[in-house]
């Protein structure tokens, strides 16, 4: 029964690894040598030297970090929860997927880089998996027993 939870945990951790890897790759595309040259001078920064297209990769990497740092932390906690504690972390994982999807669909709405599509595809897969009967039966075993009163259907009288 817990194999399903562990598998889910592994898939979540894989998502963390992929996103961290993406972040590292984005930061690595920035020309750090040039940045070092600017900042290690006499303490004066020429505004014209920092204003240019060479800064775009840094902006892109920083935005990526802003959008996805929160979800990555949630995914990490959820993944570890599933792997180590077997059943915890469903809500964290679901919220993280929602945040990732929102970021990909709205913040990257206009520019939408290639990795946004990959993230969307993986998130769709994870959303379906998290909401699948087998996973939810395992993780919500106690809480989802239907105890609520069923409403009646009326047509008039």
């Amino acid at each position: 029964m817990y194999r399903q939870a562990r598998l889910l945990g592994v898939l979540l951790l894989l998502q963390v690894v992929a996103m961290v890897g993406l972040g590292v790759w984005l930061f690595s595309r920035f020309d750090w040598d040039r940045a070092m040259k600017i900042t290690s001078g006499s303490g004066k920064i020429n505004v014209q030297t920092i204003d240019g297209p060479w800064l775009e990769p840094l902006v892109r990497a920083l935005l990526f970090a802003v959008y996805f740092l929160g979800p990555v932390v949630l995914l990490l906690l959820a993944g570890l929860g599933f792997v180590l504690l077997r059943r915890r972390g469903w809500m964290l994982a679901s919220v993280a997927q929602a945040l990732i999807m929102l970021a990909c669909l709205f913040f990257y709405g206009a520019s939408r880089p290639w990795f946004a599509y990959a993230l969307i595809a993986y998130s769709i897969f994870m959303i379906l998996l998290l909401n699948s009967r087998s996973v939810r039966t395992v993780v919500h075993r106690r809480r989802l027993t239907p105890t609520e009163a069923r409403p009646e259907i009326a047509r008039g009288e």
């Binding site: 809500m91 679901s94 919220v95 997927q97 929602a98 999807m101 929102l102 990909c104 669909l105 709205f106 709405g109 939408r112 599509y117 969307i120 595809a121 998130s123 769709i124 959303i127 379906l128 998290l130 909401n131 699948s132 009967r133 087998s134 996973v135 939810r136 039966t137 919500h140 989802l144 239907p146 609520e148 009163a149 069923r150 409403p151 009646e152 259907i153 009326a154 047509r155 008039g156 009288e157």
Partner: protein, 617 residues
């Protein structure tokens, strides 16, 4: 009725009085069960013909039960209906009477929904509720003045003397003695006074008690069935020895909901959904999507997924059966008056097929008054009248005295069938063996190949028949054993669980939901208005980011709502599903041709794989 036997009036009255129910009302109820005669005396009788204005055929003050039975001016398509006099119209006509006569001091108490009414249903429902109210302007509805008319009519009746009357009828059907308590209310004010779904003049509700003849010759109460809205079948009834069935001596206790007069077994507040059928096309699409989601994608469903033969849109309302108001019945503060007997069936029941109150021409019929105990609104005979046993799903249940007799008869029947099956099986087995030998003898002989083919086909057919017979025999053996065990337990005095027949019991909502917090209630009251104002502000000031702003605002409202309703999990799932659908569309749009190519490639590879497998065999 062909399948019913009537019971003489004296016996009927004695039985009705012996088991008459105790009814507990909700505080603030305006209308209690009354004798229908003073109601009819106060009403006028109208006839509505297709595409014509309704005509008054008997004015108020001249109508009697006898006249009602004559159903004058009946033609094809005509709908007869009663109409409660409108006190304002009376005043306009100059019929001013004493003040106490025109404006009775009634009701004594007003209904209070209490905290949490709106907090119990979600945005969609609240919005649908608002639309539903608006829709009432377009469809037929009972005018507000009619509630006042009902109040005045009933107030005068109660000012004269407080009387509580039921209409009783007793019949025998399929071994059962059915006591039918028909409760007549002057008005159903569920919408006007209790925030419910509908109003209509007149309301006929019912409580049935099912008795059987015991071995000692005494009658024995076995089941009761309380009517609630249009529910029928097993869920309606409770066994007499069910610990959940409240009784005062031999009198079952019923809780009547304020305004709607739906009758319940437990005190509390019930979520009742008013259902509207969806258009056929939408229904088909919804069914396909549901199947794809729950079966193909194996997504989680809180209730077990079931294919529905029809799809409907529902708006939830609350039915208040608190039982904190007046109690009517034996040993209570207010006792029943002698019942109006309907044994033999009086002509005003059997001959008057019209409605007992205003006909509003409402296409959903919710605002049209009901027909009498014997008829449906379309003038067909109602099931609870011609088949009271089947109405509560008791047609498959023998009385206690009949149980062992039914089992013995069934056992004899099964034994007889098993003998027949055995002999048929012996005969067919013998033929099968003979055919088997024939087929063995004709195998691998070229001149007998045609014969062999026929023999093989016959063997296959016969083998199938023998298999079916063996399965039937085996099923019958198991059934016979089960019947024997069941008979044994019945002989030992054991009874099956009292609630075993109930699939979906109507139960009140939990205490927790009933007493929603003050903030939750405040939020529920203002949220729809807030949503609308926010939408207007976004359209006015954030038109450049319209989509994003709308999505953000809706998400924030939905999140707050889910928090108050303790449904965060459901909210997250819904949000994720919506995002996944949008994401899938974005992927499809971006990779449209790649998806098509991949799909074609996958189909091609599948066909290739199948063909190669066939080659390899």
């Amino acid at each position: 009725m062909a399948n019913e036997e009537s019971v003489d009036a004296r016996t009927a009255e004695a039985l009705l009085r012996r088991f008459e129910p105790v009814i507990r009302f909700t505080k603030g109820e305006w209308f209690y069960p009354m004798d229908c005669e003073p109601y009819v005396d106060a009403c006028s009788l109208w006839v509505a013909r297709p595409d014509e204005d309704a005509v008054c055929v008997v004015p108020a003050g001249e109508l009697t039960l006898e006249k009602l039975a004559q159903q004058p001016e009946d033609t094809t398509g005509a709908v007869h209906y009663l109409k409660i006099p409108n006190p304002k119209e009376d005043e306009n006509r100059g019929r001013r009477a004493r003040r106490s006569h025109t404006n009775p001091d009634w009701p004594k108490e007003t209904f209070r929904a209490g905290r949490g009414r709106l907090a119990r249903v979600g945005y969609i429902s609240r919005l649908a509720d608002a639309l539903f109210s608006l829709m009432l302007l377009a469809r037929g509805r009972v005018p507000g003045g009619d509630v006042e008319g009902g109040r005045v009519l009933y107030g005068r009746y109660m000012e004269e003397k407080q009387r509580f009357t039921y209409h009783g009828n007793v019949v025998r059907q399929d071994g059962w003695i059915v006591l039918r308590y028909w409760l007549f209310y002057a008005f159903n004010d569920w919408r006007s006074n209790v925030f419910g779904a509908n109003d209509h003049e007149a309301d006929w509700e019912k409580i049935f008690i099912y008795l059987s003849d015991s071995e000692s010759g005494e009658v024995r109460p076995e089941w009761v069935a309380y009517a609630a809205h249009e529910e029928t079948g097993d869920d309606l009834r409770r066994r007499w020895d069910d610990p959940e069935l409240e009784k005062v001596g031999e009198h079952p206790v019923a809780y009547v909901c304020a305004g709607s007069h739906a009758t319940r077994y437990f005190r509390g507040e019930y979520l009742t959904e008013l259902a509207f059928p969806l258009p056929r096309a939408i229904s088909v699409v919804r069914r396909i999507l549901r199947r794809f989601w729950y079966v193909t994608l194996r997504q989680y469903a809180a209730d077990e997924y079931r294919e529905k033969s029809y799809e409907q849109f529902t708006i939830p309302f609350v039915d208040y059966g608190r039982g904190d108001g007046w109690a009517v019945g034996p040993g209570q503060d207010r006792e029943w008056d002698p019942p109006r007997l309907m044994n033999p069936v009086p002509p005003w029941i059997s001959e008057y097929r019209g409605l007992w109150g205003l006909y509003t021409r409402d296409p959903f019929q919710g605002e049209d008054a009901p027909a009498g105990p014997m008829y449906n609104r379309d003038k067909t005979i109602s099931r609870e009248w011609f088949d009271p046993v089947g109405w509560a799903g008791l047609d498959k249940v023998p009385t206690r005295a009949e149980e062992l007799e039914v089992i013995t008869g069934r056992q004899a029947e099964i034994e007889e069938r098993r003998d027949l099956l055995r002999s048929e099986l012996r005969e067919k087995s013998g033929r099968l063996k003979a055919l088997g030998m024939d087929a063995e003898a004709t195998r691998d002989q070229s001149h007998l190949s045609k014969l062999h083919e026929n023999q093989t086909r016959h063997i296959k057919e016969l083998s199938g028949e023998v298999e079916t017979l063996r399965a039937q025999l085996s099923d019958d053996e198991v059934l016979a054993e089960s019947l024997e065990d069941h008979a044994e337990s019945l002989r030992g005095g054991e009874r099956p669980p009292a609630g075993a027949h109930i699939m979906h019991a109507a139960r009140p909502v939990s205490e927790e939901e009933t007493h929603a917090g003050r903030v939750a209630q405040l939020w529920a009251s203002i949220s729809i208005a807030l949503v609308l104002v926010t939408l207007i502000l976004i359209i006015a000031y954030e038109r450049s980011h319209l989509l994003s702003a709308l999505v953000f605002a809706i998400a924030v409202f939905a999140f707050i709502e889910a928090g108050f309703r303790r449904r965060l999990t459901r909210f997250i799932v819904s949000l994720n599903v919506a995002l996944a659908i949008v994401g899938a569309l974005v992927l499809l749009e971006h990779y449209f041709w790649s998806v098509i190519v991949l799909a074609v490639l996958a189909v091609g590879l599948y066909i290739l794989w199948e063909n190669l497998r066939e080659l390899g065999r």
